[in-house]
Symmetry: C2
DNA sequence: CAGCCTATTGACTCTCGGGTCAAAGTTTGC
DNA sequence: GCAAACTTTGACCCGAGAGTCAATAGGCTG
């Protein structure tokens, strides 16, 4: 009776704004941790500790670990996907260049800013059902961006592939693994590694002969 | 004083043989489960239940979960790697055909016989240190097989790649994901999917122009 | 059949982590 | 400056799962 229900009863004005900021803090911290270690390996105490707060506090904002995970995935995903989509809509030039830019951006974000965020995509099965669905959704949107450019290039004859979906799968898989093997490199070595990765993946769409 | 130490004091003769068989049963069941769900999501009670046995029994043969996992990985890995290595040593023909055969075999084993075994490779970080090292070792051996054929083709000019290691990474990543997206298909659709995957990956080594 | 290994059980401990909640602390608005 | 709303705490409950162990069952072997 004394407690603020987690969901409804929105407070108004400045208070609400503060609440919003807190929620964002929690979400980005959670996204960070889940990205680094996956779902199981992150306890709510871990999240709370990194925020200099107690577990109980988290339950004031979220009804449970699942919901926190879902929200964190959506926050992280909205940003990331948004940047990809914006890039796809912005970059000029032939499909060749645009695809390469997308690959670079995708991997750069993954490796740099969300060090292990792509791990989200790797083993959706270790996540509870609800977060898993969000992850799949996220991936679908990313694929969609790539599929668009890919099909453009196919239409113009600039690209040739064995199969669109298979090509997307391969690209995705390779990009998703990238943080694991060039996450530790120094920045210039990393740049080179990412360039090489992009070049390698571009071979997947190279028109034959 | 009344208990048989887990490690030393090898019994002899028929008894020992029986013990060996039991150990094998446990290992293959454990490999199966770990392959399906990963380390965290499998409890020793799960393993015991599938064996119609009690957890305590497992501790009669293995000192702990980690050790069981390590042994299971090694069993599964020895078989798998062995088949790859044998295939690489056996198959005749140009590097092109040999590499394709390796890819097909690798993926076929992963998708068919150890449905999610490749998941072992996916997120080594969710495993405790010791099993993780074994998984990396396993992967190193697999890579070694592929690297061999790849370098052959490069030497003969039949292949061209942007970078050997990057190419291996991409191949590995794509093959590792395969069970997740064509594991559920019917057998002939699956065959087609695997062929397409192999063809797609072969583009990675295609000599340019 | 007696005695000695071998194998298995089931009940137990202990820790970790998700989730709860009353009480206390803090902010806001009047 | 004070009451009401908001926020945080810390102690607590509970179940799950790793690991332990004395007791017991089940052979072999002399």
């Amino acid at each position: 009776m004394s407690r603020q229900p987690v969901e409804d009863a929105a407070p108004v004005g400045r208070v609400q704004r503060k609440r919003g900021r807190r929620v964002q803090e929690i979400l980005s911290t959670a996204a960070e941790l889940f990205g680094e270690r996956g779902y199981d390996a992150v306890s709510l105490d871990d999240v709370a500790e990194r925020l200099d707060v107690t577990k109980g506090s988290l339950y004031y904002y979220f009804p449970g670990k699942d919901e926190l995970a879902v929200a964190a995935i959506e926050t992280l995903g909205a940003d990331w996907t948004g940047r990809l989509e914006r890039l796809a809509a912005t970059v000029e030039g032939p499909p060749h260049e645009r695809l390469r830019a997308l690959i670079r951006e995708h991997v750069a974000i993954a490796v740099g800013e969300y060090p292990a965020a792509l791990r989200l995509f790797l083993v959706p099965s270790t996540w509870p059902d609800d977060p898993r669905e969000r992850i799949k959704e996220l991936r679908r949107r990313h694929d969609q961006v790539f599929r668009g450019v890919l099909e453009e290039g196919l239409a113009s004859g600039e690209f040739a592939v064995t199969g669109v979906e298979t090509t997307l799968q391969c690209m995705h898989a390779a990009m998703a693994q990238a943080p694991l093997w060039c996450g530790g490199l120094e920045s210039d070595a990393q740049e080179r590694a990412l360039d090489e990765l992009a070049d390698t993946l571009m071979k997947l769409v190279a028109a034959a002969q």
